[in-house]
């Protein structure tokens, strides 16, 4: 799953929570990374900016794992390239 989208999502996640990138795998539950509902909102906001997408509140509430987040982004962004002006990971 090391495509550009999942790589970028994991990089942004690492940046938002200030955790080493290599500690995060695609199947990690967000909770196991110490990510609560408020962190999730911040993460999704960064992803919305980076991928120029809009994630609905209902979808935002349903994400539980890193994979859920990646799939949500992939659903909305397809394989489009990421915004280079987004915060560096």
């Amino acid at each position: 799953m090391s495509d550009p989208v999942s790589e970028k999502v994991l990089a942004i996640l690492a940046s938002v929570k200030r955790i080493p990138r290599d500690k995060i795998s695609i199947d990690t539950p967000l909770q196991a990374l110490g990510i609560d509902s408020l962190d999730t909102i911040v993460l999704l906001s960064e992803l919305e900016k980076a991928f120029r997408i809009a994630i609905s509140d209902d979808d935002a509430r349903s994400v539980r794992s890193v994979r859920d987040v990646v799939e949500e982004v992939r659903k909305l962004a397809g394989d489009v390239s990421v915004d280079s002006t987004a915060p560096a990971a």
Binding site: S37, L38, A54, D57, A60, R61
Partner: protein, 405 residues
């Protein structure tokens, strides 16, 4: 000095349900929601479109040429204070003015003023903002204008504890009257949060429902912002009886607590401790409480948590007390919420009619309380609680008792 009994002798309110007490109570008892499409702003770029706005509001009718000095939130504070004072029939003698407190709650202060100033500054690059931006924006503007209008020179201040602001405010006023520090208090809260900057901030935190507010119901999707103001006139029972005042009800306790936990996620224990503290302060047994006007925001998170807190405090009695959230009708007016709900709760005790939860579409097993839905329930309960739990984990609960003549 021994503690005095504190009664409510005047009520004033303006919100999405009406411009005065009669209109608002009429809507509350009918279960009529004031939630609808937001009209004061273009919300086409927001994920939510509905709010509980004050409709057909004419600033000039209330303030004439002096309106420029007051942001909308301070106008609501003053309008509701005018009604409450007139409703109480109290004569503000020079001596009483010195012994009158004004305590208001506001979460966000003069948002529309601030937003308009920032548009001029950053978007229109005018390089200056309106010279009245500071006095209009300050969160204490409501309390200050009330004090100026009525010439009250006792303690006056504003409390800002997010969604608990007005309950903390009414609670402090209650304690000042109870202790004998003042002989009269005008207390409540006001809010006018419909500015684009603030709506965008609420959108970003993802707690606003895209449809409507359905507290304790299945398929609830969040809260709905509301605006308005509500004020209560509080005085010692002896003074109220001596002047033959109409007594709406008695405030008997205040309970406060802090979750000391998460900045936005509610806890069970913090609200439970606040409810217990209110009962203790009021010297009430849990079995004396027959109605709770819940914080009931309609978010997926609050309502099950509040349900568990109520069960923890009341045990088996939780199944024998009625619960409703009037936010389903007047919306969540942030720093005014507790004041709107105090008015609803006092009126419920006074009229023997418990206001319902509107927009309820079916039970949620996680919110398995006796929720009053759609229509008011006739019931003369002895005591009631009114809950407010804030972002930041700051909780304030008022205990009220029916006044028996």
């Amino acid at each position: 000095m021994t503690a005095r009994r504190v009664v409510v002798t005047g009520l004033g309110v303006i919100c999405a349900l009406g411009h005065n007490l009669a209109e608002v109570w009429c809507a509350l008892r009918a279960g009529r929601s004031g939630i609808g499409p937001i009209r004061s702003l273009d919300v086409s770029n927001l994920r939510f479109q509905n709010g509980a706005e004050v409709r057909e509001y004419d600033t000039g009718k209330h303030f004439g040429s002096g309106a420029d000095l007051l942001d909308r939130f301070a106008q609501f504070a003053l309008i509701s204070a005018r009604e409450a004072v007139a409703d109480s029939g109290v004569t503000l003698t020079p001596e009483l003015r010195e012994n009158t407190a004004v305590v208001s709650g506001s979460c966000v202060g003069g948002q529309s003023t601030q937003d308009a100033g920032f548009v001029e500054l950053y978007r229109q690059e005018r390089g200056r903002v309106h010279p009245l931006t500071i006095p209009r924006t300050m969160a204490n503007a409501g309390a200050s204008h009330i004090s100026v209008e009525f010439g009250t020179t006792g303690p006056a201040f504003t409390i800002s504890t997010a969604c608990s602001s007005a309950n903390h405010a009414i609670g402090q006023a209650f304690r000042m009257v109870r202790s004998g520090e003042v002989d009269l208090a005008i207390a409540g809260g006001s809010e006018a949060p419909f500015s684009m900057g603030l709506l965008k901030a609420w959108e970003a935190i993802r707690v606003i429902a895209p449809d409507t507010c359905r507290p304790f119901s299945r398929d609830r999707r969040g809260m709905i912002l509301g605006e308005g103001g509500a004020m209560l006139v509080l005085e010692p029972l002896e003074r109220a009886e001596a002047r033959g005042a109409r007594i709406y009800g008695e405030i008997v306790g205040l309970g406060m607590s802090s979750d000391a936990g998460h900045i936005t996620q509610p806890s069970v224990e913090g609200p439970a401790r606040a409810m217990r503290a209110a009962l203790r302060d009021a010297q009430l047994h849990p079995e004396q409480v027959g109605y709770i006007n819940a914080h009931g925001t309609g978010t997926p998170g609050n309502d099950p948590t509040e349900t568990r807190a109520i069960r923890e405090v009341f045990g088996a009695h939780a199944d024998r007390l009625a619960v409703s959230s009037t936010k389903s009708m007047h919306g969540h007016a942030l720093g005014a919420a507790g004041a709107l709900e105090a008015v609803a709760t006092v009126m419920a005790l006074h009229q023997g009619l418990l206001p319902p939860t509107a927009n309820f579409i079916g039970p949620d097993p996680e919110c398995d309380l006796d929720i009053i839905t759609h229509r008011a329930r006739a019931a003369q309960v002895e005591c009631a609680l009114s809950n407010s739990f804030a972002f930041g984990g700051l909780n304030a609960v008022l205990a009220l008792r029916t006044h028996l003549r």
